[in-house]
């Protein structure tokens, strides 16, 4: 490492409280480990300095020597090397990272949770079953909400930093990060294609393209023949096979969609489900919040719903 590079790194590390050497940027991370650490920092601190090592080959090599650590990302707090992805995640989970950042780990508001009576009794049953199998364990319902807003319900022991919320005469445990994402969460227990299942709705979840199966689409079309269903394939492909009630997504159709209320459910389909995902993403980025892509496309439709629609 040459002296100039060392000085450059020194000055970055000394002049900002929180410095992350990463691949890419927090908005466009170029590696999963960098994305994880940036995601944690996004949640805990508003502003932090990042240095994209991919845009500076000298720093990329020098930082490894500087910190005596062979991998990227690398986090520095107040001039001190903290670690890579593994350690940062561990410190985030046990509260040490909050401490290092000068944050109060426990400053989490109790989220308001709504549990339907059906969900409450299903959860109680699960608790009773766990208790009968393992009478000694401490059994609580745990709700986990990942940074990607994947939800998970499980039964577990209480951990020191858990946030406990009472709802539907049940106590729910959240780790602090999940608790921060949980306000307004509703838990229901509904019949699905594979039997009854928990359904969690979280108003904090940013809108994303939802998937709909061809069978569910068929059911929705039976309920509402005016469903906004757009076919993103070419007219030529539509001439070979199409779903009755679908419309070609041409320019006038795009203009038409833009005039609709942003909460209108929009459905997109294509041959196998890839182009429709892209089209759906486009309308999502234009503010539509109820956007579906038909998984498997018209091919799945031919196989599972209507075999009179030819496959090609």
């Amino acid at each position: 490492m040459d002296e100039a590079t060392r000085q450059k790194i020194d000055s970055e590390v000394q002049s900002h409280d929180v410095v992350l050497f990463m691949k890419g940027t927090p908005q466009a991370p170029r590696c999963g480990f960098s994305a994880t650490v940036a995601g944690i920092l996004d949640e805990l601190v508003g502003k932090y300095k990042t240095i994209d090592v991919l845009s500076d080959g000298k720093i990329r090599e020098a930082i490894k020597e500087y910190s005596d650590w062979p991998t990227i990302p690398q986090l520095y707090i107040k001039g001190q090397f903290v670690g890579g992805c593994d350690l940062v995640r561990e410190m985030y989970e046990n509260g040490e990272l909050h401490e290092a950042l000068g944050l109060k780990a426990d400053a989490v508001e109790l989220p308001k949770i709504a549990i339907s009576p059906g969900a409450a009794s299903a959860l109680r049953e699960a608790l009773e079953e766990a208790t009968s199998q393992e009478p000694d364990g401490g059994h609580h319902i745990r709700v986990e909400i990942g940074a990607d807003f994947q939800h998970a319900l499980s039964i577990s022991d209480k951990k020191p930093r858990d946030v406990a919320v009472t709802a539907g005469a049940l106590t729910l445990l959240f780790d602090p990060a999940s608790a921060r994402r949980a306000s307004g969460l509703s838990i229901d227990y509904v019949d699905g294609p594979d039997g009854p299942a928990f359904k969690l709705e979280n108003p904090n979840e940013p809108p994303r393209v939802k998937s709909v199966s061809v069978k569910d689409l068929a059911a929705k079309l039976r309920e509402n023949s005016k469903l906004e269903l757009f076919d993103v394939r070419s007219q030529k492909e539509r001439d070979q096979a199409q779903v009755a009630g679908s419309k070609l997504l041409d320019r006038p159709a795009q203009d038409y969609i833009m005039t609709l209320d942003k909460s209108t459910p929009l459905f997109f389909m294509c041959h196998h489900g890839q182009r429709s995902q892209q089209a759906a993403g486009f309308f999502l980025s234009h503010g539509f919040s109820n956007v579906y892509s038909v998984s498997g496309g018209i091919d799945a439709w031919s196989l599972e719903v209507d075999s009179s629609v030819p496959r090609y």
């Binding site: 480990f33 005596d68 650590w69 062979p70 991998t71 090397f81 670690g83 593994d86 561990e90």
Partner: protein, 85 residues
């Protein structure tokens, strides 16, 4: 093809293990290959006793640094690194 991939993975695992044993004599090392170039490593070593996690991980990384250097390094990433006494 599958055999070749499996073979390569296994030999990198062995290289990681051997390198750690050179740096941390007497350690108990477990290497679990993940996706190509990715490994989970678990090291138990009595001398970790008086060291913090950062130092423990640094000692392991230092031992395998040569396997992680450069763009064509056999080890792209360590998905999980556990150190215990």
């Amino acid at each position: 093809m599958t055999t070749a991939l499996g073979g390569t993975g296994a030999s990198i695992s062995t290289q990681i293990r051997d390198a750690i044993l050179v740096g941390l004599p007497g350690a108990e090392v477990q290497v679990t290959p993940g996706s190509p170039g990715h490994f989970g490593i678990s090291v138990r070593w009595a001398e970790f006793a008086d060291k913090n996690r950062l130092t423990c991980q640094r000692l392991v990384y230092r031992a395998i640094a040569h396997l992680m250097a450069g763009d064509r390094a056999p080890v792209h990433a360590v998905d999980r690194l556990e150190t215990s006494v």
